[in-house]
């Protein structure tokens, strides 16, 4: 894969060099570029503004937000939302659960996927065609929600963290992506050399192949980790014990709570609504923070993964 990305970046550089030799743009080209830049700028605003608004709304006063005074800058800076958020134990229990579910799930997924992808990438694997079909079918057909639910409950995994950690550890898409990586990124000569030395397969895998496959391990770990961090559905159908809830399920109850469920006199309803509203802005930020903190640093890995997946043999 490294060769492929090098190839791409080489081409980009060449492209840029050649562009400098271009003569003056025609009028048509200038119109074209103007339109392109305007559209891209609009898209950038559409993408960024909602996120920006959540941030400024989270530490503006609840009244200013509800009265529509907050558009571009925070108004009447007020951190009660954050204070209330830190007082909510369910959020922090959820946070802890999510962290350990994500860690366990990611480790299992990466190990299962990488080992299987390595085997599938070997042309000499016995029954290779059978196993390829075995995994390919799962991409296009499955039992659906209810039979899946039944399997998990028959295994006695209801209300058990295993129901969150085990299913979905092997995604056929990721498996084939990793397989392509091994086929294109690990030279056969290295494998042959190691086998001539008499290294057995496991040692070969651990000491030669794994160190070479860190790029794909990184991509897989990120894909699986983000998927688990953001998921709520399995937890919703498999878990009833609130102490096991992952963060997203706690958030679901806070964020999508209906606007008119609180009781009491008119004034308290309004007060509760104000506070709940501000808390929502804060929880959006608190829950997305880890992903967005690492995002700028890892986004090139994500993009790499998509590219590996789209490479043709």
């Amino acid at each position: 894969m490294t060769t492929a990305t090098e190839n791409i970046s080489e081409r980009v550089q060449k492209h840029e060099k050649q562009k400098k030799h271009h003569v003056k743009e025609s009028k048509g080209d200038r119109v074209y570029y103007a339109i392109v830049y305007i559209i891209l700028a609009l898209l950038a605003i559409i993408v960024v503004y909602p996120l920006y608004f959540v941030v400024i709304a989270s530490f503006s006063s609840a009244d200013a937000v509800l009265a529509g005074k907050v558009y571009l800058f925070p108004v009447d800076i007020d951190f009660t939302g954050y204070i209330r958020c830190f007082e909510r134990t369910d959020i922090w229990i959820g946070y802890g659960n999510t962290i350990w579910y994500t860690a366990a799930y990611t480790i299992l997924s990466v190990v299962f996927t990488v080992t299987a992808a390595w085997a599938l990438s070997r042309k000499t694997l016995p029954f290779r065609r059978f196993f390829m079909i075995f995994f390919t079918i799962t991409m296009f057909f499955g039992g659906g929600l209810i039979p899946f639910y039944k399997v998990v409950s028959d295994l006695g995994m209801l209300d058990n963290p295993l129901s969150i950690i085990l299913p979905g550890t092997v995604s056929a898409w990721n498996l084939f992506m990793a397989k392509t990586f091994f086929q294109t990124g690990v030279p056969d000569s290295i494998i042959e050399a190691a086998e001539l030395d008499g290294a057995n397969r496991l040692r070969l895998f651990v000491s030669v192949i794994l160190p070479l496959s860190m790029p794909i391990v990184a991509v897989l770990a990120l894909y699986y980790a983000v998927g688990q961090w953001n998921s709520y559905f399995n937890a919703m159908i498999f878990l009833t014990d609130q102490n096991l809830y992952p963060l997203q399920l706690v958030l679901k109850e806070i964020l999508t709570a209906s606007e008119s469920t609180t009781g009491g006199s008119g004034e308290t309803i309004l007060e509760q609504f104000r506070l709940a509203n501000q808390l929502k802005y804060v929880t959006v930020i608190i829950s997305s923070l880890p992903v967005f903190c690492i995002y700028p640093f890892v986004q090139k890995f994500f993009a790499q993964g998509v590219m590996v997946g789209s490479l043709k043999d």
């Binding site: 050649q18 659906g144 929600l145 209810i146 084939f176 789209s310």
Partner: protein
């Protein structure tokens, strides 16, 4: 990418040097189910397969965890589809269930919600597809044609960002922005309009769902096209420029043909997934007010099967949905193979 899947799954044949030893080969025989007659056995030992198996069976060990997990969580549920043909109650055994043939399907087709569900599912997917399919292609072509590569990278980083927001948070943001006292209504009111309950009106559901999905994923979906575009031969652009082609003409006649194969593969896949809309998000956006448009087959399956415990019936409805998906995929694949050289399988 999918082209690869079937093509390189060729049968493995590899000459092996040593034919001695029987441990591994014996396992091979057991797996193929050959008889253990002496003559046959010796013949078998000399086949390419047996030699290869003896040499390379250890690779199978690497497959065990993935195969076990996939078998349990993907194949046993396929076996569980049998309850679609039963009057199944939770706790019943599948093999000794109460078989009722296709009564569950008949019940669904005869149910008054059937056409409503079909219509909602199709409309949501097709409308989403009409906007969601071309948008990433256009964005990729535009990003690729910008002259400033740093700017293009920065924009890509921005555009990919929303992909990493969880569905719960995304829908939470929708509630905040489109709620009765949210940002959008504040803007509407200050512009002289009346406040509008987006989440309680059936007609507002589809636009909100589709636009927010596009907001979240247009950048992410464009990556695959950008990757293909970065492989376009610059010589072609040079030649076109010398021939007097404008930048826009080069986008149409150089860049677009270069990504056409990927476009058709993506097209096949999205047609195959046409009825497989993301019910996790729909479920989060459902309110009593918008059920009329927001109830789709998948959310109905969830409610019937997990909330009402009508598991046999719900499985039948789900099976119906996945069969439609599979048929659509096969049709799209066949058509594409006929008219172009691109197909998944």
């Amino acid at each position: 990418m999918a082209k690869r899947l079937s093509r390189d799954a060729e049968a493995a044949d590899m000459p092996a040097e040593d034919v001695s030893g029987t441990g591994a080969a014996a396992e091979a025989v057991a797996e193929v189910g050959q008889g253990a007659k002496d003559g046959l056995w010796n013949k078998f030992k000399k086949t390419d397969f047996a030699r290869n198996f003896k040499r390379n069976w250890t690779y199978l060990l690497f497959l065990i965890p993935a195969v076990v997990v996939t078998f349990i969580f993907a194949y046993i549920p396929i076996y569980g589809l049998l309850i679609a043909f039963q009057d199944y109650m939770p706790g019943d055994s599948i093999l000794h269930g109460y078989w009722i043939g296709i009564d569950n399907f008949k019940e669904f087709f005869g149910n008054y919600v059937f056409w409503n569900l079909m219509g909602n599912t199709f409309l949501l997917c097709i409308l989403g597809f009409i906007i969601g399919f071309p948008l990433p292609i256009i964005v990729a072509l535009m990003l690729n044609s910008t002259k400033n590569k740093k700017l293009s990278k920065l924009l890509q980083t921005l555009f990919n960002g929303p992909h990493f927001i969880s569905l719960v948070v995304l829908v939470g943001m929708l509630y905040l922005f489109f709620g009765r006292y949210g940002l959008v209504n504040n803007i509407i009111e200050s512009a002289g309009g009346e406040r509008y309950s987006f989440f309680l009106e059936a007609e507002a559901f589809r636009p909100m769902y589709i636009l927010s999905s596009n907001w979240q994923d247009f950048g992410w979906s464009s990556i695959v096209y950008l990757a293909a575009l970065s492989g376009v031969d610059t010589a072609q652009h040079e030649a076109a420029t010398i021939d007097g082609a404008s930048r826009f003409q080069r986008v149409l006649h150089v860049d677009f043909p270069a990504i056409a194969p990927i476009v058709s593969v993506m097209l096949i896949m999205s047609i195959g997934g046409l009825m497989g809309v993301g019910y996790e998000k729909v479920l989060l956006m459902q309110t009593d007010g918008n059920l009329e448009t927001s109830e789709i087959i998948a959310t109905y399956v969830y409610k019937q099967g997990i909330k009402n415990l009508r598991q046999g019936y719900a499985t039948a409805v789900g099976l119906f949905n996945s069969v439609i998906n599979l048929v659509l995929l096969v049709i799209a694949n066949t058509v594409s193979r006929k008219f172009s050289e691109n197909s998944l399988f």
